[in-house]
């Protein structure tokens, strides 16, 4: 449905060829595309406007980097801006030096507070803490049941009372935690609308009465334009310390993250990526920026490729391909390059459309192992002249590498396909595309 911004930009630039500077191209149109992409990603209207004006400023007059297309360069400017807005690095939660550390969880209805409270407890427990949960949602039907069930699953005590008094649950839970030497108390509260004065006062009062160490605002990552209103209001009422972005296992772009960060300037501390108790992780601004742009990481692929890739080697490779002498030895060398650049999964994720194409297939560094093993079992002669590899050699290689003849056959077949493909690629210094070919190959390896 949504086109990747990077491919949109590539298209926008297609009509203008041979330009030397970004200012030569139609910046206005490009900026419009970017703005639209941000709005499609649910970045707030005002926020999107301010981002695009900054991007425009930066782009104008910037010299073109020879090895990347203007589209890629523009994407990088937008990406840098988003990553900058989202914050430099992940921020941890604060622990009190006088236990228990009290963590108050608040947010709109259905955002994922209760689930997150339990996950956080489990996460902290795994780090050696002794957390306890408090069920301070006294309104939603079966809210206490829900938290108690989750507490049971992760083996963490849940403090609850019969009376419908959220303030009391919270304060009593603090005392209970102290008594039982629990060093972290996580208080789950009812979902509430930011415009509901009574409920907003309630949570503000709880914050005060328990002297919360850390207040986390839980937001559904699918939230649209209204994210700015809710974040602003919650921030005014409870001055939260961090944001939790939930349901990122969906396919939402998550532009709300940008909106919230911009209006309240509080860091996003955790993300939640599923209903199970282990789907919790710290927040990485760069990944989020990539996600919002829907671009995979063209940018860092370009950057890393430039860093790692030796120009000389690149030229050698290019001439080898055009003269049709690219062989398995070169391929093996390329594999090592890829490995140097990062894990396979990361690399696949960095190529737009690639992860989608592969669907649920897991690509990990493990999938490279059989390929390496096969190549390792060949003689130097065989690597240089793969056409030598006949039936009996295949058998020997399979045996030596602990694979099957079929696997050896597949590798050779795919190598030939790849070679053909590479030959047709005109611009071989575009490392990105070569990578793509490689990725296609290992991807198929796993699927077959």
């Amino acid at each position: 449905m949504f086109e990747d911004l990077s491919s949109k930009l590539e298209n926008a630039f297609k009509s203008v060829t041979g330009q030397a500077r970004l200012s030569d191209i139609n910046v206005a149109e490009t900026v419009r595309e970017i703005r639209r992409a941000l709005l499609d990603a649910d970045v707030n209207y005002e926020v999107a406007r301010s981002i695009t004006s900054k991007v425009k400023e930066k782009a104008l007059g910037q010299g073109v980097v020879a090895s990347v297309t203007p589209g890629q360069q523009f994407t990088k400017i937008v990406y840098d801006e988003l990553a900058w807005v989202l914050g430099e690095e992940k921020e941890e939660i604060t622990f009190s030096d006088k236990p228990p550390t009290v963590i108050l969880i608040a947010g709109l209805q259905g955002s994922g507070k209760t689930t997150f409270s339990a996950k956080l407890a489990k996460w902290l427990k795994e780090q050696g803490k002794t957390p306890m949960l408090a069920a301070a949602d006294v309104y939603r039907p079966a809210a206490v049941d829900q938290l108690k069930t989750l507490g049971g699953q992760i083996d963490i005590p849940v403090y609850a009372i019969k009376e419908k008094d959220a303030g009391r649950v919270a304060t009593e839970a603090v005392a209970e935690a102290k008594k039982n030497a629990r060093d972290v108390l996580i208080i789950d509260t009812a979902g509430r609308m930011h415009v509901d004065e009574y409920m907003m006062n309630e949570v503000a009062d709880i914050k005060k009465s328990v002297n919360a160490t850390e207040v986390l605002f839980v937001v559904d990552s699918m939230t649209g334009q209204d994210a700015v209103n809710t974040a602003k209001e919650f921030n005014e009422q409870i001055d939260f310390d961090g944001v939790v972005l939930t349901k990122l296992d969906g396919d939402t772009r998550g532009g709300a993250a940008i909106s919230i960060k911009t209006v309240v300037n509080k860091s996003i501390k955790f993300i939640s990526t599923g209903e199970d108790m282990d789907s919790i992780s710290p927040f990485y601004p760069d990944r989020m920026a990539q996600r919002i742009l829907g671009m995979g990481d063209v940018v860092s692929l370009v950057e890393r490729a430039q860093q790692q890739y030796d120009e000389v080697q690149a030229r050698k490779l290019q001439s080898k391909i055009s003269s049709d002498t690219f062989n398995l030895e070169d391929f093996y060398g390329q594999l090592q390059q890829v490995k140097k650049m990062g894990s396979m999964k990361d690399l696949v994720g960095m190529i737009p459309g690639m992860s989608k194409q592969l669907g649920d297939t897991e690509i990990d560094d493990e999938s490279l192992k059989p390929i390496e093993a096969v190549i390792n079992s060949m003689t130097i002669e065989e690597r240089r002249r793969p056409q030598l590899i006949n039936g009996s050699r295949r058998k020997r290689i399979a045996k030596g590498s602990g694979t099957s003849v079929k696997e050896v056959n597949d590798l050779l077949k795919q190598f030939n396909q790849m070679k053909k493909m590479m030959k047709t690629m005109t611009k071989m210094n575009k490392m990105g595309r070569a990578m793509e070919g490689l990725k296609n190959m290992t991807g198929q390896q796993k699927i077959n």
Binding site: L147, H194, D226, E275
Partner: protein
């Protein structure tokens, strides 16, 4: 809204209006003035209109569509009065929203063709499915229908207990097999009991699931299919619940759920906040599916039959967080 008024729910109408008091910088008046006697819309006015629609989550595509339509109308008709222009603007947007279908009425007292009339409720996590079922069962019950509920969310912690409390509040029977049971078996069971006990309306809850989860979506397809084995044509309605605060992703949700279970109507919840839920305009238009209900709170009576004109009017009313 006749029935709601009769039942003393007129208050709710006020509740929605309360939040709508602050007008969006008098946009409609401004637009009127800027346009009188002209045959072209000022850029400034279009910018304002764009901002209002985008910040209501209408989305870029639908916003451009609305603007195109307004421009066409202005070029063709040439306006004489600002009130006429306002009317046309609202008309154009309202026109994008599909009307309720007569064979699946949204009014609770209306006669239903099938007996039992089976409604499957679906949606992503936490949007308000279970709560909406609670509210709907109450409405149907108050309208004199015999209602039955099925606890098809056997996955989420506390889900069955939650629906059980709603069934007690509305005083309607609940069919359940507890946590961990096969949801399709629960659905089958519910529809079968409803048939044998002569219920008029059956509402079956399902676990929240993200639309990109293939296996979970397939499970939903199965839940739907087994219902049809008990009662012809069941489910007669598949209600997709959308959260008004959701942005553009709601469109993906609608597309994916429709593909698997053929959504027949939408329920838009949590309109008691400041979110406008504008995404339903594009969804209703593109997928030709009506919005049937809106949720305006957490209480059992906080449900209204969707009214297109009022919804569109609300887009032009500004609510500022914190101001009351």
């Amino acid at each position: 809204m006749g029935l709601l008024d009769k039942l003393g729910f007129g208050k709710k109408e006020e509740k929605l209006q309360e939040g709508l008091e602050k007008t969006r910088t008098g946009f409609l008046d401004k637009m009127g003035k800027a346009l009188v006697g002209k045959d072209k819309v000022d850029d400034e006015v279009l910018d304002d209109l764009e901002e209002i629609l985008i910040t209501s989550d209408v989305g870029v595509k639908t916003t451009l569509e609305v603007i195109r339509r307004i421009e066409n109308r202005v070029a063709r008709d040439r306006f004489i009065s600002s009130s006429e222009l306002q009317k046309i603007l609202k008309e154009e947007i309202t026109g994008l929203l599909k009307e309720h279908e007569p064979d699946r009425p949204a009014e609770f007292e209306a006669e239903l063709k099938q007996k039992p009339h089976v409604i499957l409720v679906v949606g992503v996590n936490g949007v308000g499915k279970t709560t909406t079922i609670g509210k709907l069962s109450n409405m149907y019950k108050l309208a004199g229908k015999r209602v039955m509920l099925g606890a098809g969310d056997t996955f989420r912690a506390g889900a069955v207990e939650q629906l059980k409390i709603w069934s007690e509040r509305a005083d309607v029977p609940l069919i359940q097999q507890g946590h961990g049971a096969d949801p399709a078996a629960v659905a089958y069971d519910t529809v079968a009991s409803a048939k044998s006990r002569g219920a008029d309306v059956v509402l079956v809850d399902t676990a929240g699931r993200l639309h990109n989860r293939k296996a979970l979506m397939a499970e939903l397809g199965k839940i739907k299919r087994v219902m049809g084995k008990v009662v012809d044509g069941a489910p007669h309605e598949v209600l997709l619940v959308l959260d008004a605060s959701t942005g553009q992703n709601a469109l993906q949700q609608a597309l994916a759920f429709t593909e698997v279970v053929d959504v027949t109507g939408l329920a838009l919840t949590k309109l008691d906040g400041t979110a406008k839920g504008g995404i339903v305009i594009g969804i209703s238009h593109e997928m030709s599916v009506p919005v049937k209900y809106i949720g305006v709170g957490e209480k059992i009576e906080d449900l209204q039959v969707f009214d297109r004109a009022r919804f569109v009017q609300a887009l032009f009313e500004k609510t500022v967080a914190g101001s009351s």
